[in-house]
Amino acid sequence: MSPETLLTCIVFLPAVWAIPLVCFDTKAKEAMRYWGVLGTALTFALTVQLWMQFDVKQSAVQFKFDTPWIANWNVFFSLGVDGISLPLVVLTGFVCLLSMLASWSIDKNVKGYLMLFLILETGMMGVFLSLDFFLFYVFWEVMLLPMYFLIGIWGGPRREYAAIKFFLYTLAGSVLMLIAMLMFYFNSNRSFDLLELARVAAGTSTVTPHVFDTTMQVAAFIMLFIGFAIKLPSFPFHTWLPDAHVEAPTPISMILAGVLLKMGGYGIIRIAFPLCPYGAQYAAYFLAALGVFSIIYGAFAAMAQTDFKRLVAYSSVSHMGYVLLGIAVWKIVDGKTIGREYWEMGLNAAMFQMIAHGISSTGMFFMVGVLYDRVHHRDINKFGGIAQLMPHYAGLAAVIFFAGLGLPGLCGFVGEVFSVLACWNFSPILAIISASGVILTAGYILWTMQRVYLGPEYKGPHPEALVEMNSREMAIGYTLVAMAILFGVFPHLLFTPMQGSIHALTESLASSYETLYGTAASMIQTSQLP
């Protein structure tokens, strides 16, 4: 099938798939679930197909196509994929399929649940594939409503609080993003096309002669960054995450951790950096410091949790810190980019970390969910001895948690260690602090595993319910474990498609910063700290 149709199908298939659900009888839960699984499976198949058709040697955006959407405002319905978005698209398809499989525990108002779920998937796919800022924004917001209801209706006891908190944070962020978007629109030749805007920023645009001036870049970058940092989430915008995770039903937590958080990082790489290189460089050190702080902070916070899910949520904060760090390690000394290949490494690491975290944290939440479905509590101190009662489960869980711990040979390791390695070139101090994360991470994960899985006996309620995983859960668990090992052992499978695009990105940013620096050297004071 032609790339254009393929992309369009990937985006809209889930939403379209949701429509027939209306006709299902409310009683026929099983049927509807299978229908949903089928839909997500098809979408996943399409994304894989996309990977097949994707030409890894090419660094530019591929399969790009524009159709006028709002002619008066020069808004286009333009989709396209490159090395940066491709892995995330596939990940989305993958995680959605798994969490759809994990949705059997949802029993209340299945129809609504599935429809919202599928719409959510459309939103996520759209975010990753759209190359028009306006379109991106629309898809970005499209995810908001389904997520709100998925948490708010199917969530835990404090679901309303969590849902509104999530909604509020995101909306605040996106209003800022909207304003930034307008800035670019009116400072360019009235264009929302991300690639065109990037060209303008790089000073290589044919239609808009001038580059975005520095003050505007800084302002826009700050607004964009806040918008994305909320999703990422990075300290101090992270407090919605634990609540949302704890209250959301297991599959939704899987999606939250597996895909939604990635959009923050993706947005920064795809939009914030290319569109305002100066702003990015201006804030680089701050970003990196924030990332490092999130790493440490998240780890510490996780250590103090007694709620299993909350712990995993905080571990996400910590892990996404590596993403921010990897993105930000862009070292500039009077206009020249120093050690660009280390920055390239950092970006690659950030991307990899996003995927890896998508696998490991999805897995962790799933593992927590498996226990929760059985005993209906998440108090770590009330567990213990699970490894005796459910050895198979415990084995898989151990692998997943070690992946989260960053054990070599599992996916978690590569991203973390590479971003940390890349950091020294940028700032030794930050590098050292971030490296200390390995200790803390090991600390809280091992301690948790000891309290939950090891020990002689289970201390909580419903011990009788602790039976080994059923085949469906088994399938999910094994898929995740397989992925974790695969990407841990053969990371180049993932790096190969990214490298080209990221290399091009760093090149162009470095050069565009140099040109900007050349033009406005007088007004630029580089923010280089130790």
Binding site: P68, W69, I70, A71, N72, W73, V75, G112, Y137, V138, E141, V142, L144, L145, F149, G152, I153, R159, E160, A163, I164, F167, L168, L171, A172, V175, L176, L178, I179, L182, M183, Y185, F186, R190
Partner: protein, 549 residues
């Protein structure tokens, strides 16, 4: 001029670009059709024909016909090169802009009538009165949309208002209803009086009452005068202010909004919906036309300093009002328990948003169109107006949807308290979902139509920041209010969808196949549709806007 000349002109319109009386009448056909409908209905009752044919069929039929007529006019105009024609010796004007609004209103009329039919207000013997009032008001609004003369302006407003007073008090037996009506009428009459006084002053001082000439005289009056020290200038400004009061009342802008919550609270939801949409749309049409004319549209003098500074100050003034209105409306909507009251405040807030568009429009229009690239794109002003029109069109559906759902639920639970909406989703998911859609569209969340209107308006406001720093405040207020407004809209959505239906709460049944459900779904569907397929409407809106440029 003496009667002789007048008569000549009356027969075969002498002046250029003025349609002769017959053309005028033909252009005026939609309104005429509506008037005939009124007559028909009354006659029908007289001969007790309404036993055989329910009255609302007349209304619907009339509405449809006039809508079709407008469409046909639109089609004709868009075929041959669009040129604004003054009809009835320049009392009214006929261009895409007026067509847009007349079409809008006729279309809206059909929807309202349909709603009243579904909710069973009014009962059969009152129906003719009710519908004649309704249609009468619509005619008034149509006149407002195409008014080109201060007299026409006043007549239009009065024609639109007087029936609405009656409609507000239509539930004769209800204390609240009558109280609301009383307040509405007194307040309305008062503001109308003030406005009329303003009109008299303006017309007198400028020596004309026709919009297209206002700018000319205005320029003449102002040039060479020493600002506010000069009495004439002072009076003119005062006059403008008094007229502004009239508009502020119609648009329920702070601080002239006091009638709005009470009236909506007391009036039946259907009427509330009607007022909140129809009269606002008409008032905005009129406001835009008047301010544009003051800015020099249609007169030879375009963009002299005086006029520019006038429209700039108008724009800024409206900007201030907009900020106040939006903020006030959103904040006040919080603590409301009664949903109609809450919707009333939300209406106020949205009037504020739309006013932002107008203010942006004026600010952008106040700079020469051949100004440097950064300052204002030549398309800036049309874009702003397009934003306004798009917003209004979406607003029609989302607000109507909200009010109609209120009405439908009221019919079953006899309550309009938000707390009694808890867990509606479990019994009537359709209502809950559609309500949620409308609410989120009111917040302005994609992919619902409300977002685009808001986005367009904000875009124009942002563009206007290049002209005057003050627009940053407007933009900030807009953004902030969007976030704030989330709370109370979300509250409704949450109450209906997430909360559990308390035991012993009144049953609500709304099978998906029932016609009310279909109606609601249609309206909500339109909200979604306008959020996905934007281009056609935006093109139409832009064309309508281009009537001025």
């Amino acid at each position: 001029m003496d009667f002789q000349a007048l008569f000549q002109q009356f027969l075969h319109g002498g002046v250029a670009e003025q349609a002769s009386i017959f053309d005028s009448v033909s252009i005026f056909l939609p309104e005429l059709v509506l008037s005939c409908t009124i007559v028909l209905m009354l006659v029908a009752r007289l001969i007790s024909l309404d036993r055989l044919i329910p009255t609302h069929w007349f209304a619907i039929f009339g509405g449809m016909t006039s809508f079709i007529l407008v469409l046909q006019q639109f089609w004709k105009l868009s075929m041959n090169e669009a040129v604004a024609t003054k009809i009835f010796t320049g009392l009214a004007v006929h261009d895409e802009f007026s067509i847009f609004f007349r079409g809008f209103l006729a279309f809206f009329l059909v929807f309202v009538v349909a709603l009243t039919v579904l909710t069973g207000i009014p009962d059969d013997e009152d129906a003719p009165d009710f519908y004649s009032l309704l249609i009468g008001a619509v005619i008034g609004m149509m006149l407002m949309a195409s008014a080109n003369h201060l007299l026409m302006l006043f007549i239009g407003i009065e024609m639109a208002s007087v029936p609405s007073y009656a409609l507000t008090g239509f539930l004769k037996g209800r204390r609240q209803s009558s109280e609301a009506a009383l307040k509405f009428v007194v307040y309305g009459a008062g503001s109308a009086g003030v406005m009329l006084f303003g009109i008299s002053l303006l017309a007198g001082l400028l020596g004309t009452a026709e919009f297209s000439e206002l700018a000319l005289r205005f320029d003449a009056v102002f040039t060479g005068r020493s600002g506010m020290q000069d009495p004439t200038v002072r009076y003119v400004v005062l006059a403008l202010l008094m007229i502004a009061v009239g508009f502020a009342f119609k648009l329920s802008l702070v601080p002239f909004h006091f009638w709005c919550p009470d009236a909506f609270h007391g009036a039946p939801a259907e009427v509330g919906g009607f007022l909140s949409i129809g009269s606002k749309a008409a008032a905005f049409a009129l406001l835009v036309r008047l301010t544009m004319s003051l800015g020099g549209y249609g007169s030879g003098v375009h963009g002299t300093n005086t006029l520019n500074s006038l429209s700039l100050s108008c724009g800024l003034g409206l900007g201030i009002l907009a900020i106040a209105t939006t903020t006030f409306g959103n904040l006040a909507a919080y603590s409301q328990q009664n949903i109609k009251r809450m919707l009333a405040y939300s209406t106020i807030a949205h009037a504020g948003y739309m006013l932002m568009a107008v203010s942006a429009l004026l600010v952008l229009q106040s700079v020469q169109s051949d100004a440097p690239f950064q300052l204002a794109h030549p398309e800036g002003a049309p874009r702003a107006m397009e934003g306004l029109l798009y917003y209004l069109s979406v607003y029609l559906f989302m607000n109507l949807g909200a009010f109609s759902i209120v009405a439908l639920i009221r019919n079953q639970t006899f309550s309009e308290e938000i707390d009694d909406y808890r867990g509606v989703a479990q019994q009537a998911p359709i209502l809950a979902i559609c309500m949620a859609i409308c609410m989120f569209s009111l917040v302005g969340i994609p992919p619902l139509g409300g977002f685009y209107g808001k986005a367009f308006i904000f875009a124009s406001v942002y563009e206007a920041t290049n002209v005057h720093w003050f627009m940053w405040l407007v933009l900030g207020a807009g953004g902030l209010n969007t976030v704030i407004s989330l709370f109370y809209y979300l509250r409704v959505a949450k109450t209906m969808c997430i909360d559990l239906r308390p035991a012993g709460a009144a049953e609500i049944s709304m099978p998906a196949s029932s016609s009310p459900a279909l109606y609601v779904m249609l309206v909500a569907g339109m909200v979604v549709f306008l959020g996905i397929v934007i281009n056609p409407l935006s093109v139409v809106a832009r064309n309508a806007a281009h009537a001025f440029f």
